[in-house]
Subunit: 251 residues, 2 copies
């Protein structure tokens, strides 16, 4: 009988291959198979030998591979004795479905390891000169997704509570719904002059940043034609970039 | 005249050297000087050649190096033409003072680069088998520090608002004040049965995890003698660990 292989749930970081962890970079070389979608970004995916790659993201017809397929495939490959990397953009446990994959593996008795990655929610603003917390401006930071799971009964994000924290908000995958939640935050009493930044394709070679306020940012987005993937930073810290960008070097 | 050197504000990740980024690992080799405190942890600090290291953390007398000294020293070294790494535990912009250092550098005209790291607030729970978000349990996650700056006028963290988000809460440096904020969260109406986990020295060789509920966790902490540095995870996701730990492999 073949010994069962280990599955590594690996975060690839925001996209710059230099921002992968030492461990993630090594696992991409040593793994037998790498299951991935498009979120790790082109530079990282290009480094994985073609024969190891299995794309479990968007399919040719525009449909997504069902999560059940990915779960099943991970177990199947491990039972063949393979060393399997499940590569996820950012961190596997920040709005990925790493939690579900991990629970499925455990339920099936497959040994696994978690290899955290840098989430674009922190690394994106950071490389753009925006600290998500700041001693003078923000004692807390909250992350939320702009894509809510529509099948989840109690799906409504509590924007009122998030506004009331007084801390920084970072919205992942929040380009499309920007008008909705900026309105919700203003309705919750957040100052319309609150600085907002959009960071598109954070740390990728074609990274772009656009800034405005809770009131103006939708127009800024349209003008600059900001597209997914991008993170939205709402809070005083978003204004930091202006003060530092002249001396900020990237990559 | 000497050309001005570049300062790299670098996150070291939670402590396991394998969880440093490829870029951080390279910069530790190529930098002329590394300014650090104790937070990157012993395994990472040991890798930096002694002659490059400048400790700007706790001093012999038990006092902390003032932030003003660190700011000044970064500028001074860059003006000597040095390539300088300012190494910070976790990510430089998550409850470090990286934001202040960055603004000081820009104000002094020193070129700098930001190299994000994995925050222990995500990587700590993750390696312990706790996803900070989960499609079924948490649509948002908030990070807050247990050490509030006492000189900050509006220092009070809004625990009521944080409880009302309905998402996961992660408290960094939250061992000492655990009784205070668990009480505050219960007073804010959070279910006393809410799962809570403490992750001590996340990803270090001597990492430990203790779990309980909002009601029992203070007793659990005392029993297990959990000590700083540790992160506290409050929310349904904290119960995930139990379901997976049998098959979870670390490092």
């Amino acid at each position: 009988m073949t010994a069962v292989g280990t599955v590594y749930l690996v975060g690839s970081g925001p996209g710059d291959p230099d921002l992968m962890t030492v461990k993630a970079a090594r696992l991409l070389e040593t793994a037998d198979v790498v299951l991935h979608d498009k979120l790790p970004g082109p530079e990282i995916l290009e480094r994985i030998p073609e024969e190891k790659r299995e794309d479990v993201g968007k399919r040719a017809g525009g449909e997504w591979t069902p999560q059940e397929y990915t779960n099943k495939r991970l177990v199947e490959l491990a039972r063949e004795g393979k060393t399997v990397v499940r590569l996820k953009g950012g961190d596997p446990f920040v709005f990925g479905r790493g939690g579900e994959e991990m629970e499925h593996l455990a339920a099936e008795g497959i040994p696994f390891e978690v290899v955290p990655g840098i989430t674009s929610a922190i690394g994106g603003p950071g490389t753009a000169g925006i600290p998500v917390t700041h001693r003078d401006h923000a004692s807390s930071v909250s992350f939320v997704t702009g894509h809510e799971d529509p099948t989840k009964e109690e799906s409504a994000v509590n924007w009122e509570a998030l506004a009331a924290t007084g801390g920084t908000l970072v919205v992942l995958m929040g380009v499309g719904k920007l008008p909705d939640y900026t309105a919700a935050l203003r309705d919750a009493g957040m100052d319309p002059e609150t600085p907002v930044a959009l960071v598109e394709r954070a740390t990728w070679p074609e990274m772009r940043v656009a800034t405005g306020t809770l009131e103006t940012i939708v127009g800024v987005r349209d003008e600059a034609e900001i597209e997914p993937p991008a993170v939205t930073v709402v809070g005083e810290v978003a204004a930091t970039r202006e003060r530092v960008v002249e001396f900020l070097r990237n990559r």
